[in-house]
Point group: C2
Chain length 411, copies 2
């Protein structure tokens, strides 16, 4: 079968019909609907002759043997958040199916080609994202903690996994599936506004951002809003306000795609008749370059201390979470750029703010790259998530081109 | 009996022993403990021969007949918040008792002198402050709404009042008690830091601030903290931050004791991975001059619109509550100033941020003034509320001097 990108769009709609409702997609991992989607996928791939199997972490593999045991991997995830969109994760998988069909038709590829449908990328039910890819990539180190996790109904994570044939204690055995991997490709919707603002359908992802996430607490003194003169106040909210404005200057100064976000402030006592005593701020800073990220963090820390001194208040930092930047493979980035230019004329390189399964694969040392296709209004994780059909079709063509180039380059 | 300010301090401690516990004062209006305090007060006043009665709003009056039926009123409130301080409200009453004793000893005063213990100044149980004084002053207009109010245990306000002999529907009949009032005096702890910062024991209150209280909502666009470039954000928190800093400039520019407070911000969605979509800000502005207060409000509104335009976000104002400034009587302010200078050497004039029963009396057209005595660390409504004993004694002396001067001036 020659490549038929329109079929991918039709299959995306068919999947949505099968596993979604009026509120959006409902393919939450470790549920019956997710299992329905996996069964449906197995049937779709069957005609290619690729061998289907599920690994120890619940990842679904389809293997098309090549002239070499070394393998080119194409990945995605068919699970969604509750009330999710029709593209996040499953576009990747179905575009991969279309590429498999084209390859199967053409005979034995130079490398073995394996399509992987990662288990539980979203972490929607148990709050643990990238489950299957972190097991296969080998970074999963929180099994003891995962054993205690429960969903909203009180079901323990190990029990939910067991119902789908996965033993938590054996999940890391999925590492063997990456032993012969030569390279990894992933297509995804952008889930951001950059490509739309540039009026470009496609972009190459340079890697996933490093993230520094902190809670910053300013402490002043609660005081009566009526009886405390302005010059005798120690207002914690003034600290939060100055820092909110300062982190934007820091991101601008550092540049290179830097983003800084104060996503929330909690004020206490938080009543109209009192000066704010404590302001708890959530700060998220991201950069593709580890040194620049470290500088952003240190700039924000210095600014917060200067502000605290100016306002006669105190400031305290507490780390919430951080991750190093994960750069993708330079050779594959070049090939992806070429592929996009061939199908769409113009390419664009951009970092990924959200994490993806590709980051886990790249962290494990396998050359990796991602393609982004434009998201309308940058929306995702909602039924309003959308991409123009012509862009979806271009994205399937670009992934197909990239597959051909990668097979040549890594053979 | 000659004036004995030390006795006032001793009686304050006795009242605290009788009606407080390790968490502070527990004289919440319309409770048994409050009734105990009123009974105790009646016994304390008995020796003066003043006639005791309770009016239709639950206010407790002690009347020492004078040469004229026209009356000089001295007021306070014996009710407290739960876990309250040992001075708020009851200092006023007990200082008044000491003045009554001195007057009774000296014979028949030129004017009738009446000490009033206002009912439910704090509104701690039903959220309706200044109950008794607003009934007597005639401003109470929310009886229909009060009829529906319930306390935390579900008891209706009219039932709680009835248990203490007050019919809500007849409360406004208490207005008759002010018919022959010539002037009203009230001593109170400052509940703010001004006198302490000036190292002065006493001050004259110029009036109670006018207040403009508004909720200001900035609306931007939620967007992924990782995938949304800085220049494509519409961050509602930036609006709140700029306004928080701007209101301080407005207060400084207007001057004359102006205070502006952003007491709280609620951010939505308020999560670390999203740009803030809405920021709901609580704004409180106060000034003793109505025109200046109006200008402060209009400056803040203009600033919010300029900020919204700068940030490409929207802004919406909703009024929470407002009250006009209530200036006190100029002649009485002069007399109060003289009284303080005579007992403490130096006086200071300041507005009152908090409202007081005196504001209700002044609103009804009766010449009114208040004396403030220093509060340590500005604390009130907590068992940590305190004032030096020497300052408490000076405050009793100042009230006594002021009473003498007012009896001469208004006779």
């Amino acid at each position: 079968m020659p490549l038929d990108p329109a079929r991918t769009v039709a299959e995306l709609r068919e999947l949505q019909e099968l596993t979604g409702d009026e509120n959006g997609s409902q393919r939450v991992a470790w549920t019956d609907t997710w299992e329905t989607a996996r069964g449906w996928l197995r049937e779709k791939v069957a005609s290619t002759g690729a061998e289907a199997e599920i690994d120890e972490a619940g990842n679904q593999w389809f293997t098309l043997p090549g002239q070499s045991e070394r393998a080119l991997l194409i990945g995605g995830h068919i699970d969604s958040v509750p009330n999710g969109g029709w593209l996040d994760g499953c576009l990747n998988v179905l575009a991969g199916v279309e590429v498999l069909r084209r390859l199967a038709e053409e005979g034995t590829p130079a490398l073995t080609v394996r399509l992987v449908n990662w288990a539980d990328e979203e972490g929607a039910r148990f709050g643990r994202s990238l489950f299957g890819s972190s097991a296969a990539g080998g970074s999963m180190s929180d099994q003891a903690e995962l054993r205690e996790r429960r969903d909203a109904d009180g079901t323990a994570l190990p029990d939910a996994l067991a119902a789908h044939g996965v033993e938590l204690d054996r999940a890391l055995e999925a590492r063997s599936r990456l032993a012969k991997a030569a390279a990894y490709l992933e297509l995804h919707i952008e889930q951001g506004p950059v490509l739309e603002s540039l009026e470009l359908p496609l972009g190459v992802v340079l890697g996933t951002f490093g993230v520094e996430r902190h809670q910053i607490t300013f402490r002043g003194q609660a005081a009566h809003a009526g009886s405390t003169p302005m010059d005798q106040r120690r207002d914690a909210l003034a600290g939060a306000a100055k820092l909110e404005l300062e982190i934007r200057e820091i991101a601008k100064r550092i540049g290179g795609g830097a983003v800084c976000t104060m996503g929330g402030v909690v004020t206490k006592p938080g009543i109209v008749t009192s000066v704010v005593e404590t302001a708890e701020c959530l700060l998220d800073q991201r950069h593709l370059d580890a040194a620049q990220l470290a500088e952003m963090l240190s700039n924000a820390e210095a600014a917060s201390r200067r502000i605290a001194a100016e306002e006669s208040i105190e400031v305290e930092w507490e780390k919430i979470w951080s991750i190093e930047p994960i750069p993708f493979d330079e050779r594959l980035i070049e090939l992806a750029d070429e592929s996009i230019r061939e199908v769409a004329g113009t390419s664009h390189r951009l970092p990924s703010g959200p994490l993806h399964d590709a980051a886990e694969v790249a962290r494990s040392g396998i050359p990796t790259v991602m393609l982004f296709v434009q998201s309308l209004r940058g929306l995702s994780h909602t039924r309003l998530e959308d991409t123009k059909e012509e862009h979806l079709e271009l994205s399937v063509r670009a992934l197909d081109r990239l597959t051909t180039k990668a097979l040549e380059a890594f053979a």
